[in-house]
């Protein structure tokens, strides 16, 4: 996945779950506007969704996750990559040209 940046697909919409259900502060309801499928992103998944508002390299994304949760890359890399694949397959995120040098954190 390195070499490309990832960002939310323009064909998505989302709302903060806590605006509708009390006690769901760390969740988003995300819609794929092309397929009419909904997803609930919770916890770290919701954090990743927030980060991907801007085009972000996988490397930078994992670095940010490790910083937020205080864990090593080895602990989260595999599951983050699997999750990104799943989001891409669901059409929720997409790859964009890496026009700017990716930030190395």
């Amino acid at each position: 996945m390195d070499g490309n940046k990832l960002v939310r697909s323009p064909h998505t919409a989302f709302v903060l779950a806590s605006d509708y259900v009390a006690g769901s502060e760390d969740s988003f309801y995300v819609a794929n506007l092309l397929t009419s499928e909904l997803a609930i992103l919770q916890g770290p998944s919701a954090v990743i969704w927030e980060i991907l508002e801007e085009p972000t390299s996988t490397h930078a994304l994992i670095s940010e996750i490790t910083e937020i949760y205080g864990v090593t890359r080895e602990v989260v890399s595999a599951s983050v990559l699997a999750f990104l694949d799943s989001m891409e397959n669901q059409g929720l995120i997409q790859r964009v040209e890496d026009s700017q040098p990716s930030q190395s954190l």
């Binding site: 989302f14 709302v15 309801y29 909904l38 609930i40 916890g43 770290p44 989260v76 699997a82 999750f83």
Partner: protein, 287 residues
């Protein structure tokens, strides 16, 4: 740390209806943009508290489509998995909107015109479109009417309620300053909405000499079915339209009956409904 794979493909019921309605605005906007169709979101959650009182809820999405693009939009929603619940012919006395349903998004009304605004739907749409604004729904920018037009639409829509209490009108009456009301009345004239606006305010009797007076009188106040039917026939623009209106009055609206019964009506149920119109008429005439 929780697993980063904490995402689910939920049953629709796991996402509250209100959230799905907000996301539905984004879906319909996206659909229209991909087809190059001009669409204005009206009423409902997109109007917000500068137009509706805070606790007001909505059960669907209403969109007004550029009249010349209505067919293309219907084609688009059907391809996107929406089903037709009522057609323009069966939706209401005004034949202005059709209701569609999608298992994810719920209900939506497609308007080809807005009753009470102007005589020419294409011209009216242009007038509304020229002053449109963007409002973000579910993180997605959607086209809606200007603040002033939104408030006017709420007034005009309330004119189709026969309830003596019109909370949306009361709210706006209290919210708007004298200056804002004056400016709104200028826009009422620009959009040829005088009768419906007067009906919403309970002043329709000032327009007794107008052709559509009875239509708005019966739409905004409780009157007999006979008077309402007479108003519909009287307002029909040609002899052919008047004949069609009479036929429509007595024809059983199968779409509405299905929604009322919760299932496709049987022949027996259609027959019962058909004859109930005559017994109602007989009771009125026989009084």
């Amino acid at each position: 740390m929780a697993s980063v794979t904490d995402s689910e493909s939920p049953q629709q019921e796991q996402v509250p209806l209100k959230a799905r309605i907000v996301l539905s605005h984004a879906h319909l906007q996206n659909l229209a943009e991909r087809r190059g169709i001009d669409l204005l979101h009206v009423k409902g959650y997109i109007f917000g508290q500068d137009t509706y009182q805070e606790q007001r809820t909505s059960t669907d999405v209403d969109v007004l489509i550029r009249p010349s693009q209505v067919e293309a939009f219907i084609e688009a929603v059907l391809e996107a998995g929406w089903e037709v619940m009522t057609t323009f012919e069966t939706g209401s006395d005004f034949h202005h909107a059709m209701t569609i349903y999608h298992p994810t998004w719920g209900l939506a009304d497609i308007h080809r015109e807005f009753p009470g605004l102007g005589k020419n739907p294409e011209v009216t749409f242009d007038r509304l479109w020229s002053q449109r604004r963007k409002k973000v729904m579910g993180g997605y920018p959607c086209d809606t009417t200007s603040l002033q037009d939104s408030r006017l639409i709420v007034y005009v829509h309330s004119a189709r309620s026969t309830s003596i209490v019109k909370p949306d009108v009361q709210y706006l009456d209290e919210l708007l300053s004298a200056q804002e009301k004056e400016a709104l009345e200028v826009r009422v004239r620009e959009l040829e909405a005088e009768l419906a606006y007067a009906a919403a305010l309970g002043r329709i009797d000032q327009y007794q000499n107008q052709k559509d007076y009875l239509v708005w009188k019966t739409a905004s106040e409780k009157t007999s079915d006979l008077t309402r039917w007479y108003a519909r026939v009287q307002a029909a623009p040609s002899l052919g339209a008047k004949v069609q209106t009479v036929l429509d009055i007595f024809r059983v609206n199968k779409d509405h009956l299905a929604m009322e019964l919760g299932h496709e009506p049987s022949k027996q149920e259609i027959r019962q409904k058909f004859f109930s119109r005559f017994s109602k008429l007989w009771r009125k005439v026989g009084k």
